[in-house]
């Protein structure tokens, strides 16, 4: 093979760029932590750090579902409404009908799976773009929530249910353990299953994946069921923590999940990204809020800060990619 050898690129420079791309988010997180440790005496306390992890956990759990969808070139805007509809249905079952949590939670998840299936079918069979389809179902599911609950606030859940979101194990909030478990499951799902491989392949090139015999419709439907399941599960943990559910509950879930995914380096064009990135993305979002609270900055600035971080993160990626390309050619 003398004829079509690839040109040897400048390896060392490229390795550096690759390394930078891989660790850039971790570096940002580390810098934020270091900065806060200096600026605020209360930041580096066990209770504050655990608080950050506790708040980041549900965001990550929901974002894990969004990550799968975005990796496959989709997007799920309906997560808010899936969370609120499944949340209030489960809440009424438990409070009004006295159904125990170990029955009500799986019923909620089953409803979530059904809503995800609806999203998936609209996208693959009617062939609406994911943005449009899930925007539509977002409004639809929200409407159903309002009809179902009729302005009530449901509260007073049994102790077994409260365990997940608001109790501690070895002095550490249970929800942190749950998030770690979710991380492990999603890591295996994305890296070590054929389903994960197909998700990446579809995101990288749907046409080529089709030619390779991948059943794109089936994989996409499963992806949207996963994201709806994670929205449902996240909502159950939230309700467990705040001990109440009402119709506007769940607002911002989808946007936070998209933010964590994008800050975590998952490409909006699909095919590129990791679940570890999403963990860091969720942590950065909460750290930002926490830092502003500790520094006494008005919460009105928080949205602005998160927005800036998203733009900077995606810009940084694009920039590093350009440099990498230069080294290669």
């Amino acid at each position: 093979m003398e004829i079509s050898n690839v040109r040897k690129p400048a390896r060392s420079g490229l390795t550096l760029v690759r390394l930078l791309t891989a660790i850039s988010r971790l570096a940002v997180l580390a810098i934020m932590v270091a900065l806060m440790a200096v600026l605020s005496p209360t930041f580096f306390t066990t209770s504050n750090l655990l608080n950050i992890l506790r708040q980041a956990a549900p965001i990550f759990i929901i974002a894990a579902g969004q990550t799968v969808v975005i990796l496959a070139r989709g997007i799920d805007l309906s997560m808010d409404a899936v969370a609120s509809l499944t949340g209030v249905v489960m809440a009424t079952l438990m409070v009004d009908n006295a159904i125990p949590f170990y029955v009500a939670m799986p019923l909620g998840l089953a409803l979530g799976a059904l809503l995800g299936l609806i999203n998936g079918l609209i996208i693959t069979k009617i062939k609406l773009p994911p943005f449009v389809a899930t925007f539509g179902t977002w409004l639809l599911f929200r409407g159903l929530t309002v009809l179902w609950i009729d302005g009530r606030v449901i509260s007073g859940f049994e102790e077994g249910f409260r365990f997940f979101g608001s109790r501690r194990l070895f002095d550490i909030p249970v929800i942190i353990f749950i998030a770690m478990l979710v991380y492990l499951i999603f890591r295996i799902l994305l890296k070590q299953t054929t389903f994960g491989r197909k998700i990446y392949a579809i995101g990288a090139n749907p046409a080529a994946s089709r030619v390779s015999g991948i059943n794109i419709d089936r994989i996409m439907i499963i992806a949207f069921i996963i994201s709806a399941l994670m929205a449902t599960f996240g909502s159950q943990l939230y309700i467990s923590r705040i001990n109440s559910a009402k119709s506007d509950f769940g607002e911002g879930f989808a946007l936070n999940a998209i933010a964590a995914t994008l800050i975590g380096g998952t490409s909006f064009e699909g095919g590129v990204g990791t679940i570890e990135g999403t963990v860091i993305g969720a942590l950065i979002i909460i750290l930002l809020q926490n830092a502003m609270n500790l520094l006494g900055i008005s919460p009105y600035w928080q949205g602005l800060a998160t927005g800036l971080v998203i733009i900077i993160a995606v810009l940084g990626d694009t920039f590093l990619k350009k440099i990498a390309k230069k080294y290669e050619s």
Partner: protein
């Protein structure tokens, strides 16, 4: 054309060099165009025809060489510069805006204005109508372009080019989507323009057309100019020999294989506007070529067979059994592999690693449990990297960073890994350097030797003659010939490809 010999060149290009990464697309090419002549440009795919005219149109820049337009040295740095120099181009695929009207498209970016800034809509429509009528093009100027047939769109693109009142018109395979009447219409317009002194550069794969309208012909091969000839004194066979050029036996290391039983059979495969009643078969160990001109329907037909597009009538048999439901995933499961024409669009996940691309079609077969074993994945990848000499530093390298030929080997290895027993290869060597081409021919041979049934679609006549045991020729959606190994000559393959009139008439669309 005695007077055209004496007239001065409108365009003179000298010593033009154009490099693309890894390949010299144009190598010291001289080319000139006289007033009132139709200068035909021919060559195989990748010979440099399109590159040459894109330089004149200001789409590509040249590395070396000079261009003179009517005696003045110029640099054509962008398309609007070309327009100001009076050079207009009509591409093979019209690039009109589908949701604008015909009139809006014709005058896009040079709309008639009133008060110096507002588009004079009435005037625009009136001028468009006049222009279309003067060209005898039967199209309503208020119609949306999206509603027109491809042929009509091509004529509108032609009208748009003429609306600039150019001195030079470049036609890049303009007739591939035209009907016979539309082609005649375009030819008579070209002849009229010629009499008015306009210079025309004409690219076409339909060699018979060239004799109808051409004055001079330039043959390009591998980026070099072979010859410029007066077309009236040139034979078709001479032109084909110049286009092909190479010593075929060296280029195509064809070996005899054991041909076994039938593996793939098409019966009456039909889809309106694509193909009609296609019957063919491929046996184990056999390499069958499917030749035809661009737009003959070869790719489209095989896409139906693989299940990428729905079929209207007909059936596909695999190893004697009828395939009940055609879909890409079903085809892959049955052991059919499909190497698409455009590897970047449909062949590869560029952003993923070599190994992920190699196992993509075999995920379910290799990993029954649904869990991927990295060890096994790496072993498979290493195996094919070794067997096909894929030039990559590692199996983890992203495919986007590999050269075109190496990328194509990755697509091929995907189907080797899937152990496909029937392979449909659509233009497997398009845009690949000569060395890697020969390697790919060797791989095809090896696969046939191992008993695979292989169908190769190609527009390169020498390639298809060099690698096939048998050749089917398609023209305008029907099979116009089947040639056994002994009967294959450039002339009779070409004759089938251009289609005898009777055969085309027999096809009902």
């Amino acid at each position: 054309m005695d007077q055209s010999v004496n007239s001065q060149p409108i365009i003179a290009m000298q010593g033009v060099i154009k490099d693309f990464p890894g390949v010299r697309a144009l190598d010291h090419v001289d080319f000139d165009l006289r007033e009132g002549e139709i200068h035909v440009l021919v060559g195989e795919n990748g010979a440099g025809k399109s590159t040459l005219v894109k330089i004149l149109a200001g789409v590509l820049s040249l590395e070396h060489g000079t261009i003179h337009v009517q005696g003045t040295s110029v640099r054509i740095s962008n398309p609007s510069r070309a327009q100001r120099l009076g050079i207009a181009i009509v591409y093979q695929e019209s690039n009109l805006a589908p949701y604008l009207t015909v009139a809006q498209n014709i005058f896009l970016c040079h709309e008639p204005l009133k008060l110096g800034f507002a588009v004079d809509v009435g005037n625009e429509v009136r001028k468009a109508r006049e222009l279309l009528e003067s060209l005898s093009i039967d199209v309503n100027p208020n119609e949306l372009v999206d509603n027109l047939s491809l042929g009509k769109q091509q004529l509108v693109a032609f009208a748009r080019a003429l609306s600039f009142k150019p001195r030079v018109i470049i036609m890049d395979e303009p007739t591939s989507s035209l009907t016979a009447q539309e082609t005649d219409l375009m030819f008579s317009t070209l002849k009229k323009l010629k009499e008015e002194g306009v210079g025309i550069i004409y690219i076409s794969h339909r060699l018979e057309e060239l004799f109808q309208i051409g004055d001079r012909i330039t043959v390009l091969r591998d980026g070099k100019k072979i010859e410029t000839l007066d077309i009236k004194q040139t034979k078709l066979s001479t032109i084909i020999r110049m286009m092909v050029g190479r010593d075929i036996s060296e280029m195509y290391p064809k070996e005899a294989t054991q041909i076994g039983e039938e593996a793939l059979r098409l019966e009456g495969v039909t889809r309106k506007g694509v193909c009609n009643d296609i019957n063919l078969y491929v046996r184990k160990g056999e390499v069958v070529g499917l030749f035809g001109l661009v737009g003959a329907g070869r790719t489209e037909t095989m896409r139906l067979v693989f299940g990428l597009e729905p079929m209207e009538a007909g059936s596909v048999y695999l190893h004697g059994k009828k395939v009940s439901h055609l879909s890409p995933s079903g085809s892959v499961n049955l052991g059919i592999g499909f190497l698409p024409e455009d590897r970047k669009q449909e062949g590869l996940c560029l952003a993923l690693a070599v190994k992920e691309n190699i196992v993509r079609a075999s995920l379910d077969r290799l990993f029954h449990s649904g869990f991927v074993s990295s060890k096994k994945e790496n072993e498979m990848a290493q195996k094919y990297i070794r067997e096909l000499s894929i030039a990559t530093p590692s199996a983890d390298r992203l495919v986007v960073y590999l050269s075109g030929g190496t990328q194509q080997k990755v697509v091929l290895s995907q189907w080797l890994c899937a152990e496909s027993s029937v392979l449909i290869l659509d233009e497997p060597t398009r845009g690949i350097d000569v060395g890697t081409k020969v390697e790919i021919y060797r791989i095809i041979n090896q696969l046939a030797k191992n008993g695979a049934a292989i169908l190769v679609i190609s527009s390169e006549l020498p390639e298809i003659m060099g690698i096939s045991d048998r050749i089917y020729v398609m023209c305008q959606g029907i099979i116009t010939g089947e040639l056994k190994h002994g009967e294959v000559t450039a002339e009779n393959v070409a004759a089938c490809a251009f289609g005898t009139q009777e055969a085309i008439n027999a096809a009902t669309f």
